[in-house]
Amino acid sequence: MTESVPVSTLRRRRRRVVAGGGALALALVAGTAGCSSGSSGSSGAGSSGKTTITVAGMPATTSPKTRQQFLDAVAAFEKANPKIKVKPTDTQWDARTFAARLAGGNAETVLTVPLTEPPGLIARKQIADLGAELKALPHAGDLDPRALAPATAADGRVFGLPVTEYALGLVYNRDLFTKAGLDPDKPPATWDEVRAAAKKISDTGATGYTQMTVKNTGGWILTAMTYGFGGSMEKKVGDTYVPALLDGPAEKALGQLAAMRWQDDSMGNNHLRTQQDAERDFAAGKIGMMISTVNSYNRYITQYSGKPADFGMAALPQQNGGRSTLLGGLMAVVSAKATPAQRTAAVKWIDYFYLKPAYDPAAAEEQAVAQAADKLAVGLPTLPFYSAAVSDPVNVAIGRHTNIPTGNFAPYVAGVGKLEYQVEPPVAAQELYGALDTAVQAVLTRKDADPRAELAKAADRLGPVVEKAQAP
């Protein structure tokens, strides 16, 4: 019977099988091939002699005005630079995925990253040296080295340009201050005053002072506190950095937390806190004080619907001869996989979009108008990138569109002027922060935890990591 099946039938049958059995497999391969043409950072000059760069940092659809402003800027930039094609993405920076996306050729050419990131990216050779391109920029000589410091390598090479920068400070709830009989216009300036204020606030039922403790935020905030106690987290011995956790200031900072937690009980009950849930509870009026960033005000307003009038901000409290604070914010960096042409184009874009509003009053004003239209904060006290001669006219232009309770930031502005800005610990900052999370949690959850012993444990753990990170 089978012998009599005509050949044509067999062929037909085979074709049907192809269509059936292999169809999905083929479709899958085709589908993945289709996806791959998305954003490829490494594709260099096109056939037309155009250089294509992909740029992250486009605002999300939830901020339509600033998003449109970003797209308009892209169009204007392309018009001014006909040889450059810009592909914007609204992919958020994600430390987890960056390296792998870079490896797959899917990372953007220009990325905006938090200030915690550049040292690690530099050490892993994942971002490009921008020194040569930087020199060609307008007002390059007026750039404040402090603004470049977070992305400056130990040998002086510059790997990133500032997007927005600010000093960490004490965020406090003015309403809770008033309820506790404290003067909201005279926030604590020393850690002893913080402790006293926290006690008074906690007597009213709210949490006096809150410390973030997980996902490396515990170490981050403890580092800021340690700067406020006049110390640092890493120091140079000979040519290499070593942890400086046992030098005293870190221990004092941790001891301060222990006292507030166990002697005063002014830190509430929850000691496993992320930045998000601390900010949420602060906006809900449950927290008196915490160390946070200037731009947390944006989230306070837009994400957590906090009352603008209740948001108070002071400079980072100082004690024991400390007079410095930790710098936070965003920097623009360029993928190490970018070709020289792409790198030049990338720095042009960074200059056009991020630096120009810091040296050109008209550009600054345009940006401020868009931000105000999206109900984003305009006029936050950030760190100027340029010397006063260049930045003062810019600040005047932005000042015309301020939509924040400027008076509430006055204590911050007054205090921060007297402080030095310090950058993140230069070697293995994330690992350092992770190890210090443990120490902060220990002090806040175990009454008999000894700050010095906890720091010693962290130092032991960090020793080999810091050493390995500096290995040639």
Partner: protein, 318 residues
Amino acid sequence: MSTSTIAPESVPVVAAAVRPSPPGSRIARWRGGARHLVPVLFLLPTVLVFGLFSWWPIIRSLLLSFQQTNLVEPATWVGFDNYQTLLDDPLLGKAVTNTLVFTGLALLIGFPLPLFLAVLMSELRRGAGLMRVLVYLPVAVPPVVAVLMWKWFYDPDAGLFNEMLGKVGLGPYPWLQSADTAMASLVVEATWAGAGGAVLIYLAALASVPTELYEAAELDGASVRRRLWHVTLPHMRPVLLIMMLLQVINTFQVFTEPFVLTDGGPEDSTVTVLLLIYRYAFVSGDYGAAAALSVSLAAVLAVLSAIYLRLTRAWGTK
């Protein structure tokens, strides 16, 4: 789907044509060029999917564990350096201990409880359907939601547990907020979320105990407890052993609970092996160390899985 080289009515004809022949005999091959191509096409999805998403990552993990890479420049071979990094990290010992503690506590709490429930439920015959639904309901809740739910119950400010215990004059307990109690709190949550499945499996196993055995035992005058001990449990031994192994294999990979509830804290008391792999890779960007730890965990799990498969096969052929 197009119709029809076979007319629909020919199917019963086919069925009627069944004649006994030795089981497992291979179906005769089709003729022509298609006969080689057809199996290839049918196997293509399997080979592609398993090759790309199972075998290649396994091989790659092995390679990666002997390499150092920033994923930008070509990887360099570093011998056992990554494994040395693991051994130098004080957190590794802690993660291994924590994982073993989780596994141990989960066996201690989570292993006898479902068995006890299953025996009780099979003895009490009424309401069996309702009990089954109730016991399995937690398993239907997505694990992440279960975890968030318990986070809310454990909440140090107005959590259900402390409020309830407070009414009878106990507490407040720190639950997740202390290195002493955090891991146990995770185990209680995991047991709640997972016990239902085990109960159902035990119920099925209990139903398969031949009633003659019970009757014989009863004729011998054995008490309920003795029958349980001498008839039921021996009959259940294979399934118990398998469930135990399965639980060990699963708890060795615990991640969601510590990741969502405590992020490894307080004081690293809930850092597990998988959480540490995640941190090496996605927080520190040390893919070599992450791969080395993955390979080490895989070796342990492979041994356990081999035992598991041997047991299931041995039992299945009985």
